[in-house]
């Protein structure tokens, strides 16, 4: 029984909210475009899902708007700016680069830079910790050891 349930779970696959065929556009290439756009747009109700994944009513309305505009032949940029005009940067899952998001976008570079500095520092210390030259007494003792059978 449990195995059956597990198989069923596997078979169900990703639970796309957009399972309602009535929502989809008849033209598959347009539907593809609408989906790609929808995945870039944040659902403002659940906030960590795209409108394509969300089951919220507002997300459904926004999906419908995206599909209407795609079907009407509007470009990707026009569709995105339609929603950006109404909901601001928040609706974009990929935040734009501006003064407010500069630190966010710079974080990977800063982290990489800090890591590089750390590695360089550690390497320099390793070379600095190279063994000091042997003193005369040590050299004599080592020579003595070498002579032992």
């Amino acid at each position: 029984m449990r195995r059956w349930l597990f198989a069923l779970l596997l078979a169900s696959g990703p639970a796309w909210a957009l399972s309602d065929p009535a929502e989809q556009l008849p033209d598959p290439t347009q539907e593809q475009r609408a989906r790609a756009l929808g995945r870039e747009l944040r659902c403002l109700v659940c906030q960590n899902q795209s409108i394509e994944d969300s089951d919220a009513e507002l997300a459904r309305d926004l999906r419908r708007i995206v599909r209407e505009q795609v079907a009407a032949g509007r470009s990707d940029g026009q569709v995105m700016s339609f929603l950006h005009d109404r909901y601001g940067d928040f609706v974009l899952l990929r935040p734009p680069v501006n003064a407010g998001t500069a630190l966010l976008w710079a974080t990977p570079v800063l982290a990489l830079g800090a890591g590089a500095l750390l590695v360089l520092g550690l390497r320099r210390r390793r070379t600095a910790a190279a063994p000091a030259a042997l003193s005369a007494a040590e050299q004599a003792r080592l020579a003595e050891l070498d002579r032992l059978p």
């Binding site: 403002l44 109700v45 906030q47 009513e57 507002l58 309305d61 926004l62 708007i65 950006h84 005009d85 109404r86 909901y87 601001g88 928040f90 609706v91 210390r125 600095a128 910790a129 063994p131 000091a132």
Partner: protein, 194 residues
Amino acid sequence: MSEATPNPWRRRALLGLPLLAAGGAGLGFWAMLRGLGTGSYDPHGVPSALLGKAPPEFALPAPAGSDLPALAAADLRGGLARPVLVNFFASWCVPCVIEHPQLMALKRQGVPVFGVAYKDKPADALGFLARRGNPYTRLAADEPGRVAIDWGLYGVPESYLIDRQGIIRWRWAGPITEDTVAADLGPLLRRYSA
């Protein structure tokens, strides 16, 4: 044994760095918590893209059976006698019940409050107002919820303050409480009434 003696300042800096980072993070966290408490920081809040702009172009019908005038963008253009509060609500919305007494109080103070019933059946919206009292001087119905999207609405209740020149000055997503009126809406109304 020949470990190079490390620079004491370097050691101190290496020890201090994590402390400094932790201190900085703690300070940032404290600021966030304080902001959450005072309401100045809301990680879930969607800032309105319409602040400082005129409301979008729209014309909504009155809900069937209502005897109040409907609402269109033309009613919110400049030359208003007083600043106006546009309130999106629904009879199915619980926080709308919470804020309702505040809207009634605003009405008693003479603030024009225009209502938009969002995704609500006309009979339900009118029933809600008949039961609890009607704070609105204009009442429109946005049953498909499309005009609401032009306003950037993402939930009900949501309220927009329009100044006398017809510019959106303030947006409040969530119920208007006594605190909201005392801290934000009251002072804003006084400022924009002048």
